[in-house]
Amino acid sequence: MSKQNNSLMSWLDKRFPVTENLERHLTKHPVPKKVNFFYIFGALLMVIFMVQVITGIWLMMFYTNTEEGAFASVEYIMRDVEYGWLMRYMHSTGASAFFFLMYFHMFRGLLYGSYQKPKELVWLFGCFLLFLLMAEGFLGYVLPWGQMSYWAANVILSLFGAIPVIGPDLQVWIQGDYVLSGATLSRFFALHVVVVPLLMIALVVFHIFALHEVGAGNPEGVDIEKHRDEKGMPLDGAPFHPYKTFSALPAIGIFFVIFFAIVFFAPEGGGYFLEKPNFEEADFLKTPEHIAPVWYYAPFYSILRAITFGIPFLGITSKFLGFIIFAASIAILFVVPWLDRSKVQSIRYKGIYSKIGMILFAASFITLGYLGTKPVNELRTLIAQICTLFYFLPLILMPIYTKYEETLEVPERL
């Protein structure tokens, strides 16, 4: 460090907490030394967020947010704008990657009890981020104004219409028109480009601040703060920079190998990332044979469709009940910190019921996802209903089995 640098830093530090924050969050912030690959997804999520923002900004420079021009402007980007095709594919692949990473990141949280005290707030901010990401994906998908954009939006908006009493008026208000139209497109554009991203940035900041306040977990569920060295640094911990920053780099490399393999060789993702009907411009007179959401909504869509019964004496239609249970499937995630009464954090040391519960939950989620991309028939609806049950059951029963099951002894040190 030259004298020049030192005086610049001290000039800055008197006016802005530069060094203080660099140390608190990077160079002197202790994190568990030994974690597994499940712990990389947070960093990868930040990378993909940046990819989406930057490619999104660039797409905005060429996209036309009107009903008349939207579809053609996407082809303009694909054909006439230099490297426009690359930006489009990075953004569409990025959306699927974002959800893929998000689901694994949350699964890590469930496996290793990352939501347990005192990290409940980290988990809450995270669940809110999932909700925002789902909104962002939905809003973004409408923008190309293809057949699936239009008709899938219609399906989701009609869910709002199913709310008793206020539903139809609410739907018209959201649409800004009597039917889904350019008015809806323009406002979805503003929400997708500005509102939700700003909220997401704010929440990511809160999420990380909350995490840094209490410290990251590890797969063993050991509290590394309990054993420190003479300098106060946890014995099982290491400063985030350079140890975790550098270990993230090869993971980012591997991620980009997979990401760009998809972008350059299979951007349509077999019809899962860019759905076939969406290569046709929206036609309000022609309904596609099979309206399916993008793969990342499929589990929740499956739950929605599985509810084929209502509660007549309460005036609740099956559509509305489906909406309620669909919303509950996301909402229940928020309260997991209070459902888990276990003495131990990590699945490694929890009892047999937690392990069975976790397998059932994950298997149900994946099966529901698969079913959600397919048209309904009697057998599929039955399986979806069973899977919906096994999605909720491990969570609803958690307060009971986590409290009473036999757990293993958690080691003191990593």
Binding site: F62, Y76, Y83, L249
Partner: protein, 184 residues
Amino acid sequence: MSKKIDQNRRRALHITSGVVGAVTVAGFAVPFLSAWNPSEKAKALGASVKFDLSKLEAGAMVVLEWRRTPIFVVHQTSAAIENLPKLDAKVTNPAKEEGITRSVNSRYTVLKGVCTHLSCAPKYHPEIEPKAWDQEWLGGFFCPCHGSKFDLAGRVYKGVPAPTNLEVPPHSFDGDMLTVGEAV
């Protein structure tokens, strides 16, 4: 506890990873910066414009549009070509190196119809007769906004608000076919 840190190895790795990182950033930057180049649509709209000169009579002017700019194409009469050298003293920049018509073709003049003062469209006055703005008018352009005067080859008169001659756009001739702008 005493593991020797091989500083040379570390430095080598720092440099290598730094270079790889820089190449990655540059690699990401290229598509995004290139995307700002004119798109195919812009190139299509900004493409060269063709005009068949056989329809243009001597002494007449046609106005074409190229890249949202009016382009004046003048078919000079013999009288005009004779008169132009006489104005060498009256214009700020005689531009003798550009030829009498300021074009490769000795019969036609191609100009951007944008006054070099504040971008109004000058009016075509080819008549050789006294005018309100010049008793010895030998034909040319008069800009109604602030009174700038140009001769039939677009050269600016001395003592008017406009500082430079009317600009000559890139153009070429192929027999009777005039192409304004570069051919793709």
